[in-house]
Every structure is written in C-alpha cells, then in structure tokens.
Symmetry: C2
Subunit: 202 residues, 2 copies
Amino acid sequence: MGVSVGRKQLWDQADVLARAMRLFRRCGYLGASLRDIEEATGLHPGSLYRVFQSKEGLFCAALDAYNDQVVQGRVRAHLLEPPDPVAGIRSFFTSTFETGLDPDPGCLLTNTAVESFTVPQAAAGVHRGLETIESGFADALTRARALGLLSADLDVEASAARLLALYQGLLVLVRAGAPVTKLHTITDGAMASIGSDKEGQS
Amino acid sequence: MGVSVGRKQLWDQADVLARAMRLFRRCGYLGASLRDIEEATGLHPGSLYRVFQSKEGLFCAALDAYNDQVVQGRVRAHLLEPPDPVAGIRSFFTSTFETGLDPDPGCLLTNTAVESFTVPQAAAGVHRGLETIESGFADALTRARALGLLSADLDVEASAARLLALYQGLLVLVRAGAPVTKLHTITDGAMASIGSDKEGQS
DNA sequence: CCCATAGTTGAACGATCGCTCACAAAAATA
DNA sequence: TATTTTTGTGAGCGATCGTTCAACTATGGG
C-alpha cells in the first residue's frame, strides 16, 4: 500500500510550519510576502505549492499548528496543569508581556481575527483557538472554586468569557506598546474581578 | 499673505477622509489598495498624492480624523455626557455589537495596533485614541463614584485601564464573529467587575 | 542499468502594487 | 485677453505580488 518510490522530502513539515507561524505572527498574512516566506522557511515556491496549494493553505496550516502547539501548550502549562489555578491564570496573562520569553511576536489568533476578512477559511481556526483558551479558563476557574480559592457562587462560564476578552484586549495593548506597569495593573484587576486580589482573600 | 490664485479644490477633505476611514476600518492598511481608495473616495492618485504625500500619509490623516470624530464622539456621547455614567459605560460596550448602528466596520485603533508594524508613524495616533477612551472611562467612573453609584474606594485608574482592555478584547471578539449572547455576557461581567451588576447593587 | 515516481529548483508569467508626471482645466491677476 | 497659479486627470512607470512549470535530482522496483 504505502508506495515508497521517488525522492524523499528533504524538509521537516513541522519545522517549516513553525517558521512560517513566526513570520505570520510578526507580519500578518498580507504583510508576509511569498519571498519573505521563502527566506524564512528556506523552501522554494515549488515545494511550498506542492504541499500547501496556496499562500492561504500555508497560512491555515500554520494557524492549525499554532493552535495545536502554542495555544494548547500555553493553556496546558498555565491553566490545566498548575496545582494553583489562580496563580496559573495570572501567569497566563503576565507571560504575554514579561521579558525573556519572546520579544512579542503577537498572537496569531488576535491578529487573524482582526485581519479575518482576508482569509475566510481561517475563521474556523480562530474560533477553535479562542474556544481552547476559554475552556482553559473555565477549567482553571472550576478547579479554583473546588479548592475554595474562589467564591462558591462564581459564574464560571461568564468569568471565562470575560477573561478571554480581557486576554485578547491585553494582547492588543501589548501590540500597541502599552507600558508594562499598565499591563500589570490590568492583570491585577482581572484577578480581582474573579474574586482573588493580589494579597489573597482567604 | 493668503494668496488666492489658481483653481479651487473640488472635493471636501473631511468627506474624503471619512470615506478613506471607512475603507481602512474594513480592510486594514495593507488590504486597501490605492485603486480601492480611488474608488472609495472618487479621487485620482494625483490629487491624493498632492495633499497627502503617500498612502501612509493618507492613512495617518484618516486615523487622526477617526480619533477626532468617531472616538471622541463616542466617548462624549457614552462616557462624558450621559447623566447616568454607569448606563453610559454599558452602552459604550453594547453599541459595538448591537444591530442597527453599523455593520461592523471594525475599530481603526484595534486594527492599527495589531497591524502596527506596517505604519510606524501611526503608533502615536493609536496611543492618542486609546488614551481618549481610557480617560473617558476614568471620567465616567469618577462621576459614578461621586453619585454614589459605585463603591467609594473604587480604584478609578485601574478600573479604567481594565475597561479599556476589555473593550479592545470585545472588539477582537466581535471581529472574530462571536455570538451576541457571549458579547452581552462579557459586557455584564464588565459592569459587575466595577461593582455594578445588572440588577443594581444599591 | 533503466525506468517510473516523487521532490527540488528557480526563472518567469500576468496581475497588481504604490506612485509619478505631462498635460488639461479652472480661477485670479494684469 | 494673456498670464500665472493651483488643481484635476489618467496613462503608465518600475517593483513586487502570488503563482506556475519545465528542467533537474534523487529514490526504489524490475
């Protein structure tokens, strides 16, 4: 069945998608030309088009990879796994602007939602990524409530939706170059709005 | 001094900027070609370039017009003038997604912040617009506190920053096609997070 | 060794991009 | 009316866009 005739593919698809993803996060879909993509990935247009059909196809594949690796990775690391879900939610926010991690390449979900008119097929990917984040918030909130860290009558669904909006807004402000102090203020307010301020509330 | 020799300009600059603004809100800077601009404004490239020097110049002028007209108009109408500042804040949010007003042309500040790499000179305009909104929130919160509608120990500055982030996030979700019920949930949560839920809190 | 197959390469296509400029048309001055 | 000055017009510039494809290179089967 698995015919093994012909030349072997010289490049790793995951690696190429990771490079394309980084370029799209920085420059957006329209801002990244095929020549830029060629330079970033090291692939010539023929190879790109044989596998991904078009620039849009590559973009959608990069968006899927972003969801599967970056988004799910961050959600798992900050929202699902930490024993202290409240601290996890906080670090999910602060990790977007605190130095060291990465020099602000931008969130592909935020950027694509704003650019959405350009690549209609990407809407599904944006929706999927946003839902991953939101259900991550919901999971962390539910766990925190069960641990007694938050009020028992907290509306998890509404709080998760609000945290998602706050998170997207924070990313916009990061892109706009807001000072880190303001981003911290917003994060502190977000934590307080779910009933957990910095000092703890017993 | 004011020499009055030569042909009269046939077009109204404010009207042209309003049309360009609408196009940029919908398509973004990169997504709007000069041919699109020509069609939207009715101006030929010669006239455009004589007055605005470049596509970037036109964009920055449109962004300034957006700040002076749309942003300041909305801030005044919802945050500065209403006798009930709390209701004003709520309508400032809901007016972005409730039907009738406009079919979601997008916020030029949000879009430009995300696209910021493209037109570096636009950063100042984005900053100015965001500050207009944030100080509008601060004004409404201060008035609401003075009226006894909100807790006396409310941190106005922090709440205004959080409302700005929430507002930008809401606009991202609107662009992403989030259902109206979710947008309402987020708005209700935003109001509750400043200490005023739907039913009122005495 | 030769052929069939799969993958790589990069020149080049038509379309469109942002932008320019020579020219025509109007308004004020002489 | 002739002249000067400003504005409108739109063909067309070089550059770059997304995309294609014919030639070339590796691989496995017979």
